[in-house]
Symmetry: C2
Subunit: 142 residues, 2 copies
């Protein structure tokens, strides 16, 4: 776990990690949220609702977005962080169980006085295709 303090953080700094999305993670996310929507468990339903665009059931978008928690809490800045707000999350392409996602965050700005950093996030799959973009403000301890 990184332990950057506010003064350690540089504009342009990038941190990243990879994570495989598994069926167990999908099941656990369903258990947490109670989101029983068939798009996320029924391959035939997902194929029909997507008009052929989805090859199988689709991982929960908010499961992929949950990796922002890991990015802030473990990597950028790590231990001394608190997510202030998530400014924008765009779901670009479907994620499937078995995909390995690369989560990359880059510090775009620092708001001195507030001890906030603005982090731009890009999540890509194993085919280097972007599946999610986002930005968030993270409070970092001095």
């Amino acid at each position: 776990m990184n332990e950057y303090r506010y003064s350690d953080i540089q504009i342009g700094q990038t941190e990243s990690f990879t994570k495989e999305i598994t069926r167990e993670m999908e099941n656990a996310f369903r258990g947490i949220t109670g989101d029983e929507n068939p798009l996320h468990r029924d391959d035939a339903f997902a194929q029909s609702i997507g008009g052929g665009k989805f090859k199988n059931h689709v991982a929960f978008g908010m499961l992929t977005a949950s990796l922002l928690s890991t990015l802030a809490g473990v990597y950028l800045p790590g231990k001394y962080s608190l997510i202030h707000s998530v400014e924008q999350v765009s779901f670009k392409k479907p994620v499937y169980a078995g995909d390995t996602l690369s989560v990359q965050g880059t510090v775009e700005d620092k708001l001195d006085g507030l001890n906030l950093i603005l982090v731009k996030i890009k999540i890509t799959n194993q085919e280097k295709k972007c599946v999610l973009t986002a930005s968030m403000k993270v409070l970092v301890q001095k």
Copy 2:
């Protein structure tokens, strides 16, 4: 599970549900994301980092935000939905294990042609205090 189609949805329509946040949900979320940050498991660390503002370890903000998945996938509109984007998530107050959250979504606009609805979300705790506000665009099948 609601099964609203795009034409069924009215501007101003509101759907809501409640969910208790439990330690089991926190542990499952930690397992999914790998976010081992002590803010979300160590009461003493949370008290120290919050300058006395946090009474205990704090639930993951993105866990609370994950209830947007449930709102869209089960309630508004339910079965025939796909989250397009999450526009803004603001974490207003800490959430603790044992809190019972009320998640309320209201349709603020409909984007005909795109079959998108703009949903404003407010999550309050058992003391009626707002812990999270957000908005999202959801694609609804015709």
